[in-house]
Symmetry: C3
Subunit: 398 residues, 3 copies
């Protein structure tokens, strides 16, 4: 992307209707219009263009980007740090012990305390069904109240770095990858995407990745097939949403319990383990009740149940079923690779090995997606600001 | 505060006598003259003014702000990070296990090692009576020696982020809040402030908050009443200091064992739990001797003793005793709120709820107070520099 | 160093042949030519000169410096943070549990994931013989592959912050200290340096400090004597390298088992504990096999063996044997000081006390050495860039 292309991309951005992103939170892709999502993708591309041309899109002279991780993370933590740094924010982590999942008064107070001089707050809270998104809403309300009451001079914007419902920075990075791979958003129409459960020798992986993918890709006219063994359902409201999306976008959404059927003629495959929704709900309940024995029993049961489906692997044979035998393989990483990271996992080593480079490219979009979300939430006139930054030609180095 | 008001505030600052703050440490408010304290408050206001007008007061192109927390902290840690970032410093935390409280040679070496290229060091060491302030003095001497010996090109300045004697960033933020609430430092004269012990179902809370408050507010002509059950005395030297301060400032200082008496006609109430001084001294001794059993027994005893005084709660009934029933309620947060964070605590839920907004405003002054302390310790001619920054009009964003 | 001297130093830098440092990793001093090492020392001096004159050598507008510490560190962690900050990079730590020493696929993936928008990666991996350097090579190859495959827009450069073979940021800081102490690199020729084992009541200290010192100082025409009790050999390949170096440089390298002999007429002494190479190899094997009992037994055995040699202490009597009784005492810190940090240790308290100031000066070079390594790896035309920075005269403060 040369400087002329960046200029053209900014002009294209200016024609979109995305003003509602200003001073808003980014919690779920389905909270946002297609134009708003397009704006995020467009700004991500522009920021990447700046960097590729050695120019700096730094807009903040000072200010904080706060992260609040209620689950372990390396990739997303680093992606957020890079996004914040690219724009000029210093990252400050808030360490909350998992055990101290404090809501109510404390959530309100914490939100206010970390928000003086803070531009952006990235939250990951994906462990408990019915809790993560609820916590983010609670924090959002606390911030709005603090601004209204004059406690804050400005209200930082939230970015959902994974909750129980959605993982928007992941699904948007996935989408950026698809757009670049297929040559444009319009080229996704009619393409078949298989979002498939895959076996892993672990339990309790969040549902937000498959939910995020089916909740987003069905809006782009894609033919989305969700495949999983019986009992591994995702949340019914997200399935319902995907179905409606497909109806509106001219795409399709279907569910199958046959991995081969999902892979058949697929343009894109996303084989990935997740936990059954109902079991995760039960687990949350057991945690609430402090039932340590119950949790252990449930986890043992989940592992045993998983093992029944260890044939759900993305093998060379299955890849051969896809469009011309060459579907694009997606994963949010890290993947459980058979004979590499485990005896039997989500994907055969030879498939993973062949697909490594595009996979890493996929991951590389995330920092820019996050930076775009922060940029659009904080800048009054994003397109004008980007044009100014371009004209300024500040080198990133030197 | 508009730009004209900022300019006027800088002119007012220039008339104060505060040169001794330059290249000095800020350890105890009572180490400093009233003019020096006024300068900190003034610079805090000016920095806040910059930010409210979207201007950057960033003075450092690079440099480190180091934190050394020997006790858990979220609020103060974030306040320090914000202050450092506002001025352009990167924060680097020094993680010292609590168990490795290393003094002597090690303190000397650590001080030198973390100080190359460092502008400011913020230390919290509030756990052990007789140790925190001593440690800071030790660090200060090590830095002075390292500068004298040519080891350091410059000597970073220390900021006390809470020790066993004082919590100056807290008490100065409290004071900033009082000044803004009552319309000026001069309006504090004669106002009655009740610094009262309050019940909490925990033990061992530092004494530095009440000590910091009575040690500072008595200098401003306030009528300070310290209230606590018998046996919950603060350090005698701080009581003595408060008494002398009051004598000089035309204020008053008294001690009562009756919470109602303290609240009677008070303009400001500060109900807050703390540990008895004598018990904390004993605890330090037991830690020194590694007497794990003795510590457990002492803690059990302290909790039981606390329970005898669970009527020491800031209730609606008590608030009604205050001036027009509407005293300003202060707390350093987090508060133990009855029926919210515990069954019975320092304050009734309805009182806290009503006072939340001013409380959060109180907390919001701390980052600016810390930034002012750093600014005044590092800038050769602070008023001139602020005027230059104002004329420069660097936007914080854009 | 005034501005004229800085200008002259930059001109001197321009005459060296060090282009191979550009976009390269700094893993072992013996990977690099003498001119390349001279360039690092020269840039370190120039950067220090900038700072002493209140000028900023910041070249990055944004970008990350990532640290990956697989062993505890305070000094080196801070040195890296200061170096990164001086140049304008934000530090992001990658926390990898020691237990999760993950190689293979994971090393490859981790390297790519942390490298988007990253300029420099500092790695410490010194715990296991045969592993640390191997891990760094693995990471280096992964980065090269990621760049080649288009995953990365740029490849960050690695800095070895201590591995099993070498500790180049330490030995180069030591060398900078020697150069300043003796008045120039040329003055080191013929000077006798005693790299001696010393007793410590701990086991398992890395071999990379003595190895780094003998591997580097023998290249400068020094007369390097390695002294240790029998059984405390360093890695044979490094001894071999030191011998060859000495042959080429006109210096000398010898091994003795007599501490007094090493100290006799020495200009520089470096008494420091380390673990026997063979025992460390065995320990790595036991870790591989998960032999917890074997590890415990080995450690007990090592401590007992150490105790046999507790006369290997840097005493006043031994210091009296050195050139005019006034050899320069070096240590990488922290030292085990007899009667201070332990009953009996590496050095007598009176010796350490007398030598403290030069020791701290020695430590003060490390941040600049690291900054020079990063600078030379990332800047296309380092000398031109430094001259531009000098002409720009950006104040670090103001």
């Amino acid at each position: 992307m040369d400087l002329l292309a960046i200029r053209e991309a900014i002009r294209k951005l200016a024609r979109l209707d995305y003003g509602r992103l200003y001073q808003a939170d980014f919690l779920l892709t389905w909270d946002h219009s297609l134009d708003e999502l397009r704006a995020v993708l467009q700004v991500a591309d522009i920021l990447k263009g700046f960097r590729q041309n050695g120019l700096s899109p730094r807009v903040f002279d000072s200010g904080l980007g706060v992260t609040l991780f209620r689950d372990h993370s390396t990739r997303t933590r680093f992606s957020y740090a890079k996004a914040a740094n690219l724009l000029g924010l210093m990252v400050q982590d808030l360490d909350e012990g998992k055990s101290q999942i404090a809501h109510g008064e404390t959530a309100r107070e914490t939100a206010a305390m970390i928000s003086f001089m803070t531009e952006s707050i990235g939250i990951r809270d994906d462990m408990y069904i019915g809790r993560g998104h609820a916590y983010m809403l609670e924090a959002a309300q606390a911030l709005t109240a603090a601004l209204r009451d004059g406690v804050l001079d400005q209200r930082p914007s939230l970015v959902n770095l994974q909750c129980d419902l959605d993982h928007p920075t992941q699904s948007m990075a996935d989408l950026a990858h698809l757009i670049h791979y297929f040559g444009g958003l319009d080229h996704l129409k009619g393409k078949k995407l298989a979002m498939s459960w895959a076996y892993s020798p672990s339990y309790g992986k969040p549902l937000s990745v498959p939910q995020g993918v089916v909740g987003l890709m069905t809006r782009l006219g894609m033919d989305v097939v969700l495949a999983h063994p019986k009992g591994y359902e995702i949340m019914p409201e997200v399935e319902e949403l995907a179905r409606k999306n497909a109806g509106r976008s001219g795409g399709a959404f279907s569910v199958t319990h046959d991995m081969d059927e999902a892979f058949d003629n697929a343009d894109v495959v996303y084989p990935k383990s997740w936990a059954p929704f109902a079991a995760m709900e039960q687990r949350t309940l057991l945690y609430d009740q402090g039932e340590a024995d119950g949790i252990k029993a449930l986890e043992k049961d989940l592992l045993a149940r998983n093992a029944d489906y260890n044939a759900w692997e993305c093998t060379e044979k299955r890849m051969a079923l896809t469009r011309d035998g060459r579907a694009l393989y997606l994963h949010c990483l890290p993947a459980d690779i058979s004979n590499v990271s485990c005896v039997r996992g989500e994907v055969a080593a030879s498939v993973f090995d062949r697909c490594r480079t595009p996979l890493y490219l996929q991951a590389g979009y995330k920092p820019y997606i996050i930076a775009a979300m922060i940029f659009l939430a904080r800048m009054d006139r994003p397109a004008d600001m980007l044009m100014e930054l371009l004209d300024r030609r500040t080198p990133r180095l030197g």
